[in-house]
Symmetry: D2
Subunit: 177 residues, 4 copies
Amino acid sequence: MNGRQVRPDLARIVLWVPIEVRYGDFDVQGHVNNVRYFTYFEQARVEFFSQLRARAREEAAPTAQDGAPTAGAALGPEDIPFVVIRAEAVYRRPITVLAPVVVGLDCARLTHTSMDLRYAVCDQPGGMLYASGTTTITSVDQQSGRPRALPRWARQGAEALLGPVGDGAAGTSRQPA
Amino acid sequence: MNGRQVRPDLARIVLWVPIEVRYGDFDVQGHVNNVRYFTYFEQARVEFFSQLRARAREEAAPTAQDGAPTAGAALGPEDIPFVVIRAEAVYRRPITVLAPVVVGLDCARLTHTSMDLRYAVCDQPGGMLYASGTTTITSVDQQSGRPRALPRWARQGAEALLGPVGDGAAGTSRQPA
Amino acid sequence: MNGRQVRPDLARIVLWVPIEVRYGDFDVQGHVNNVRYFTYFEQARVEFFSQLRARAREEAAPTAQDGAPTAGAALGPEDIPFVVIRAEAVYRRPITVLAPVVVGLDCARLTHTSMDLRYAVCDQPGGMLYASGTTTITSVDQQSGRPRALPRWARQGAEALLGPVGDGAAGTSRQPA
Amino acid sequence: MNGRQVRPDLARIVLWVPIEVRYGDFDVQGHVNNVRYFTYFEQARVEFFSQLRARAREEAAPTAQDGAPTAGAALGPEDIPFVVIRAEAVYRRPITVLAPVVVGLDCARLTHTSMDLRYAVCDQPGGMLYASGTTTITSVDQQSGRPRALPRWARQGAEALLGPVGDGAAGTSRQPA
């Protein structure tokens, strides 16, 4: 993460989320504005958590304290028990055409209370790379705003969906040192 | 257009454009912010014009002066030779769930230089209505900013795609008086 | 409201809210995107309600059921006990320069449960008109989502700030017939 | 830039740009959405370049090839001869109140073709820190899209406004190693 961020290994990414590029995402320079890539990351992240929750619901009736919402529930703050504490994007090639893109999502690091999610914005899965990025999210208690353990559905789901992820400390992180 | 806008006749709509609802479209009240519906209208309109241009390209090699861009061209100001001069939305039911919607699009009025496009935001084609709306767009010369005749590809395409549309003056408009 | 909306009487507007135009408000056509005007309306409306609440707090300690939040409270859904049920903008002249604008705000109609707010986007108070617009907002119960009487602080504040407003039915509305 | 980014030295910042927080910047979690901070950075950056250009215009009649636009010119792509190649934000404390913020701006590194700009989002100049961030921008030729030397007005203006900035290579960068 030294400004010369390593190109992401697209071949390892297993989750690709299609993202609709909007006309309004373009700025006066004629390409997608740099800020919107973080919206694309967010949209991919929300879809990722949605899949994790769906997986959790299928496997077992989650306990209420686990925070996994029931099917068809309206979106509420309780559905996103995470806050972003760091976000980064590296831009490689401008998006100049109004066509959908895909965001590849990977989990680079998993600790007791946080996750590093890594993104690759491409024209198609494994295709031409427009930008890559990382966000660190942390699990917070909705009432106190304090960090707390990641909900089990998120931790187990992440490992089930993406494969084993190291905790950084153990050196098994997917993120290049 | 008296504030008691007639409910749109969903059964007559032939073009439904899927729209991705983004997490960022929700506001602090927990539903999609009222402003974003105009973004949905815009996205549907851009897709509509994209289909009109594709149709024009297929049928004949359009002349340069007609303004129909060639396939695969990057989005540029020249691709949207229209400006919005009026926009309206009537909100019927909040979008509270993070799931795609569809925007039905219809052409309510067609004059020498302008078009009234009518929109219906639903959960699925012909389904539950969240909001309806109208935008009046006018064709402008990119250099002078002055109104000019609608490009032929837009006029003919609109009629081919949506069926015959009156010119308002003649009383054959689809819009209720 | 027949598409030939009367030009607003700028001289009658008493509340002008400065709005910062953002670089990101411009679209690929090189002017402020038509959708953003509704964001400007919203920002002016929020400032208007903020002033109404401040006025209510000064005049008397509002009762809890009146919904007037206490000073310095964080923004929450309970602070905006209104939903927009209709919104309209008429665009007159594009904003092509990145400089602040002002939104003039007026109350055109006041009923038991709703308000029509009218907006004028200008380069300066009473100056060059970029766009005008109207939104109808209605007071809703946060729990049930049902319409309810406008809170007293909103009704009284609107009249105190903007002067007497008719109820539409009585024909004393400020809105031209 | 190792995820434990050093807290910015607010006392050294000489340029503070006021930013209007919009109601629409808040998300369903009740605080300003993480993506919007990049919009705040962008807005501060645009104001920074606007000041640099104003300074250049005052000091000398800039040559056309220097790219400094004339006073009062409408915003165009030629006015922003930069692209963002990297952006990062570290979030420290949520913005939960709808009130203006300020963005402190500093130039951390200056090379022949690029600049690292550093941002601090605070409640007031030198005050409570909500977030910090960095963007690397590079000067590009509008026609070819290729990197080119930073325009003189940008380089000289940055040094005049912010004080001498190292080139990174020389170790005189303001950025902690």
